[in-house]
């Protein structure tokens, strides 16, 4: 019998990832999704490894070199304080991507936990949570965000919190509905028949099965938050303007003078935002195709 383990292990190598592999193949075949993924990865990587890619400090002011157009020295030119735009966009990406990804993650997390509970236990708790989410949904998101910013104050951490508070509802509804459906699935009943603990059934058995739509909606949220961040900068209630974020960089370049004279100051952050959002959306669509068999 000792050889048994190795039988399992050998077989494991052969089969373990076939589901994953199949999905990956499907995804790779989806050209747009791949382009999206590549863009996202490239942008995230460049942001994370910003110090390796540029020797400039994003905040290094060099007033003598202001508004230099792109050249060898400054790949994407400099802004009106002589700061290197390339470096700023890279470092700005760190904050923007962090805020939006964390916001989406936290929102999804909250939505998932509440949604699991509402969907699994049903009854009064469910009704309460659904009402709550409806109320949150009644407020225009932008307004809710602004009010929250007014209450909590500006700042990266607070913005994440705000995105989390305003972004949990879609995930919540989705997870709840899935749970309502999956609660009746046979494998859940099997687990109950074996007397497994409720928490294990909820989180270990059912939850993984609702992850794919959650992941897809989280990607969509990331895209939305990137745009929200930009809008909030525009309204002056986003991340403090001294911190470079894509929104702040673009917002700094919104003046007519910049728009008509220094194209690189708006085209670069604007382009990066649009490309990232586009890429995330493509990526999300691709994921949906792979993860959600209904959509095929």
């Amino acid at each position: 019998m000792s050889s048994q383990t190795s039988v399992f292990e050998q077989a494991n190598k052969k089969h373990a990832s076939s589901l994953l592999r199949k999905n990956i193949r499907k995804f790779v075949n989806n050209r747009l999704a791949m382009i999206g993924l590549i863009c996202v990865v490239v942008i995230v990587f460049t942001a994370v490894f910003a110090p390796l890619l540029t020797s400039y400090d994003p905040n290094k002011i060099s007033l003598g070199e202001k508004n230099t157009s792109p050249c060898m020295e400054h790949l994407l030119g400099t802004d009106n304080l002589g700061r290197d735009v390339f470096a700023r966009v890279l470092y700005g990406g760190r904050v923007s991507v962090f805020v939006s990804v964390m916001g989406a993650l936290m929102g999804s997390l909250v939505g998932m936990v509440l949604g699991s509970m509402a969907g699994y236990f049903g009854g009064k708790l469910d009704m309460l949570l659904v009402r709550l989410s409806e109320i949150f949904q009644t407020f225009p998101e932008m307004i809710l965000i602004m009010i929250l910013v007014a209450i909590l104050g500006q700042g990266v951490g607070n913005l994440v919190l705000v995105f989390c508070i305003t972004g949990w509802m879609t995930t919540f509804r989705m997870v709840r509905n899935e749970f309502l459906a999956l609660r009746g699935e046979t494998y859940v009943q099997v687990c109950e028949a074996f007397g497994m603990p409720k928490a294990a059934i909820m989180f270990k058995q059912i939850l993984p099965n609702v992850l794919s739509p959650v992941i897809v909606s989280a990607t969509v949220n990331v895209a939305g938050f990137i745009l929200s961040e930009a809008s909030l900068s525009f309204l002056g209630v986003g991340v403090p303007s001294s911190v470079p974020t894509w929104g702040n960089i673009l917002n700094a370049a919104k003046s007519v003078e910049v728009v008509s004279n220094y194209w690189w100051l708006w085209a670069v952050p604007g382009g990066v935002i649009s490309i990232f959002v586009l890429a995330i959306n493509f990526f999300g669509d691709g994921l949906r195709d792979v993860l959600d068999p209904k959509q095929q």
Partner: protein
């Protein structure tokens, strides 16, 4: 039929689901899914349960397993000669009880969590039930897999890599892991193709013989039930209308519903002249059960009494055969 040891004694079991309506979710009625069911199950037998969709077969099965908390009645289980009412069990006792009774469900396609390897799906119940060493677990897993003719190394695959028949065999194997005494099979083959169905049915018979299991075999296909069972329970709208030895039920169906059911089944034989009894109308919703005998609006033999008095299950000619119908009321 004598000398049979009882394993389950079900007394007046009742499972009513409240129907809630409106904003305040007031209870406006009940789905009487299982209504006053009394039944004995003997050790080692296969008890078939048939009936139309929605008549409460699955609910009965689940309630016996305490997956639903019954709204009334008792379910007594034989603990080495001692009968204990499982409806009064604490959660710890129930947890232990789950080792004695297991269930196989209708849909093998959704009975395995699509994201978990079969290995994990097999390991989890063992872990929960305290088999802590990995070797021991793998030994058990290998044993049960042998029983259902599946190679152990298949365990490391995902459910989607298996066909329906294989999945159902896996489900049976998994239920057997905890060495249950009773297996409740809720339509285990109705989702399978004919060509596969026979494999699974034969396998189940073999396992029963090998392990001395007791089956509660639920199905809506009378031919399948009859093939599998020693005794058959016929249900209609949450009530038992007839209980009989499977041969007897085929040879001498008493209840008009059973008769209609038997005659409605298409037989894959030609040149067989058959008089079909077609019951008119539909199965009423269990929320609005007709008064009296639930079948009376559709029954060809409906009498005045049937519309008012609900017949009780009584022995027919003092035998094992029981029926709930006023047609036989005088004889009992």
């Amino acid at each position: 039929m004598a000398e049979k040891e009882l394993i389950f004694q079900i007394k007046n079991l009742q499972m009513w689901f409240p129907v809630r309506k409106g904003f305040l979710r007031k209870t406006t009625g009940h789905v009487k899914a299982v209504d006053d069911v009394s039944l004995d199950v003997y050790k080692g037998e296969t008890l078939g349960i048939v009936g139309e969709s929605g008549c409460g077969k699955s609910t009965l099965g689940k309630t016996i397993m305490m997956l639903n908390t019954p709204t009334g009645g008792q379910v007594l289980f034989n603990y080495e000669g001692q009968f204990k009412d499982i409806t009064k069990f604490t959660s710890q006792e129930l947890f232990q009880f789950r080792k004695k009774v297991q269930m196989v469900f209708q849909d093998p396609y959704s009975a395995l969590n699509p994201l978990k390897k079969i290995y994990t799906a097999f390991e989890e119940p063992l872990k929960v039930h305290g088999v802590n060493s990995k070797e021991e677990r793998e030994k058990i897993m290998e044993d049960v897999l042998k029983m259902v003719n599946i190679q152990p190394d298949y365990l490391l695959r995902y459910p989607h890599e298996f066909s329906g028949g294989q999945r159902q065999r896996l489900c049976i194997a998994r239920a057997l892991e905890v060495r249950p005494e009773v297996l409740i099979c809720d339509e285990p083959v109705s989702a399978l193709d004919v060509s596969i169905q026979a494999q699974v049915l034969n396998l189940m018979k073999k396992i029963q013989k090998d392990l001395g299991l007791t089956y509660l075999f639920i199905a809506h296909d009378l031919s399948v039930v009859q093939y599998m069972s020693n005794r058959i329970v016929v249900m209609y709208l949450g009530k038992i209308v007839e209980i009989a030895d499977s041969r007897a039920l085929y040879d001498e169906p008493l209840h008009p519903y059973t008769r209609a059911l038997l005659s409605a089944i298409p037989v894959p034989q030609i040149h067989q002249e058959k008089k079909r009894i077609v019951l008119p109308g539909e199965v009423p919703s269990p929320i609005r059960k007709p008064a009296g005998c639930a079948l009376h609006p559709r029954c060809p033999h409906c009498m005045e009494k049937c519309k008012q008095v609900d017949p009780v299950l009584t022995r027919y000619k003092d035998g094992e055969h029981m029926v709930a119908c006023h047609l036989y009321g005088a004889e009992s």
